[in-house]
Symmetry: C2
Subunit: 398 residues, 2 copies
């Protein structure tokens, strides 16, 4: 892989996706510099679900054991009706599941996974620089020239744009803007003992209801409980600028089962997250720059796969580059790699965006549609993987 070793890669953005890309490429021998706009690398201290599609990738990077050390492997995904509390269906995450998908389903603190990836990237030789933003990229010709906010310029063979939902680099390819779902999310990770639960929780439990849902799962070896409440904002519908505020929370869940309503008391109310995705775009490449992660394909959170898509992107890019550079550098390798990664990943990630929207709509149905959804969940064959193989069984291997 002499060619890849001589390659210079600049990663724009130091979230989970950027850290993963820096790690994956550095581990294959590339010279990686990562720029993060913020003064420090950081992630919200709330929970993150990683399916087996992500766990397998962490395994390939030698990080799964460490991730599981601080994470929790829930026994089931549980879907309950938010109004009645009835359990509608479950996904058993036990040995049969792990065998089928080649890895576990686990939940973790976002910051735990982030630190793990940043540390591994550094150990692999990547140069991580915070407090520096990529402000411009010239991608013509057989190299890229990056200007950063400190006034410097940097030459690279490719630039990986992983600057997230509000990506500035995406503007080079598309004029589109984030699409508001009109839903706001509240989060909270609290000591488990403070949660005042009626049951011991070893599962990821989702209460799905009309225009709202509520998620609960344990974190950090069961010492913490992570909760997320998401609802369609009345303020958004009314055109309020700072929509989704805590004054809307109680009303949004007023019809819900008491278990849900009681859980709301433990959410952080000093900040909340308006939920956005973007419409799918097919082309992520501009010359020597490729958009990946949320910058290319930010989904809503319903499939719990946004972070994993970025891990898949990182692995795919590094794998394809390593494959193409076998036997020494040759002209036109990087453009071919970027084209192939784009072609492999765009259908996948755009499906996650579109299915995520549909899955959210399915959760939030009311009236007769809700009854049909509930009955569908009740009678589905829980031993079948036909709805999830596409998501959890994917590999970019050629």
């Amino acid at each position: 892989m002499a060619g890849l070793r001589q390659s210079r890669v600049i990663v724009a953005g130091g979230g989970i996706g950027g850290a993963a890309a820096a790690l994956a490429l550095a581990a294959k021998g590339a010279q990686v510099i990562l720029f993060e706009r913020s003064g420090a690398f950081g992630e919200v201290g709330a929970g993150l679900q990683i399916g087996p599609h992500g766990a397998r990738i962490l395994q390939s990077w030698g990080l799964l054991e460490a991730a599981l050390d601080t994470g929790v492997q829930p026994n089931h995904l549980v879907f309950r009706d938010a109004l009645t509390g009835e359990t509608l269906t479950t996904v058993d995450l036990g040995s049969r599941f792990r065998d089928r998908y080649g890895g576990p389903y686990f939940v973790t603190h976002r910051s735990d996974l982030h630190v793990l990836l940043l540390t591994a990237a550094t150990n692999a030789g990547a140069d991580l620089r915070s407090g520096v933003a990529v402000t411009d990229v010239i991608t013509d010709g057989d190299r890229a020239v990056v200007t950063t906010s400190d006034g410097n310029t940097h030459e690279a063979d490719i630039v990986v744009g992983m600057d997230g939902l509000k990506s500035t680099l995406r503007a080079r390819i598309s004029t589109d803007q984030p699409v508001s779902s009109g839903y706001a999310a509240y989060r909270g990770a609290i000591p488990y003992a403070d949660a005042d639960l009626d049951e011991d929780i070893h599962d990821v439990i989702g209460y799905i209801g009309p225009d709202c849902h509520f998620i609960q799962y344990p974190l950090r070896g069961g010492t913490m409980l992570n909760q997320v409440a998401v609802f369609k904002s009345r303020g958004f519908l009314a055109g309020v600028e700072d929509w989704g505020g805590p004054d809307e929370l109680g009303h949004a869940f007023a019809r819900c089962h008491q278990t849900v309503r009681r859980g709301l008391h433990h959410l952080w109310t000093d900040r909340w997250w308006p939920m956005y995705d973007r419409d799918p775009i097919d082309r992520w490449v501009d010359g020597r720059m490729i958009l990946l992660g949320d910058a290319a394909h930010p989904p809503l959170q319903y499939l719990a796969s946004g972070a994993v898509m970025a891990l898949e992107d990182a692995k795919c890019l590094a794998d394809y580059a390593a494959d193409e550079f076998v036997g020494g550098a040759a002209t036109g390798v990087w453009p071919r790699v970027l084209r192939d990664v784009n072609a492999e990943r765009a259908p996948r990630c755009n499906r996650v965006i579109e299915t995520g929207r549909m899955w959210g709509e399915l959760w939030h149905l009311d009236g007769t549609a809700r009854l049909a959804r509930n009955e569908l969940f009740r009678i589905r064959d829980t031993t079948s993987y036909r709805y999830t193989d596409w998501l959890w069984g994917y590999s970019s291997d050629r």
Copy 2:
């Protein structure tokens, strides 16, 4: 049954329900006079579905064979997506079905069944008078006094109010009005050969789609094709007085599969039916008068059970009266019979109203809700009768 033989019963309304009540009571020995407002007994010449719950009752009156002679026994109920034409689920109406429910599912010309019931009622001794409306009922005391539109008065032990959806007698009990669904129905029964079909139809086929549906089945030994198109009226939503006109038909089915759109050409367009039901009421009895059939509990058409509910009412009333009068007349028999019939029938018929509304909503879903409905239909266990036992397995026998 000496007591019942001395009883005088007046039936108000000569549709399918009134004819059935006159027949059932006359057959048990009561002296029945039926008044029909119209100058002639008549029914629309379109199709009517009779499930096994109705077939069993016709059998008990000795009329099933004759009804099947002019009717058709379809092989299946078939539910298709109106947009794609995909068959979503079927109900096999074969021997296993007939064994479970003790009778066949058949379709007939409305007028064929009506004539059959009117003839049988006459043969049983009922006095059927058309062109005479019941205009007033005094129900105090131990008899009823009926005033008719020809100026006469008539004494009776009970009055059976079966004057339909727009019942005038219901006003004695409730001030409620028919509830508009906002849907309009178009019908058409044409020679089978004129229908220009892609397939031979031996089933009841329902195409269910967003805000619309379309039904096809053969009539009269397969020589005719019956079609019904039902859609949510834009005119109704806009407050147009004469809503649901033929100008709305094409637009309402514009997204539908070509099989549906082609079928629309064979509908009658000189008249259409705005679809109404009423909110359930629990009390149908006022002194010596009882409301039955559509006057008491008019459902939307989705469960194809409106006419059968009237047959069940008629049988229940006649059976309970015959039971109570065994051993000779006694004071207070009729009030007890009316009370018991009301108590037996109201939960049943009100469930048909409410489930009918829900079933219609399920047919008319769009978007993600439609996809969930379709998947529910696809994966349901077609060998199970758990959704239909309540409807088709009912008996009022004590």
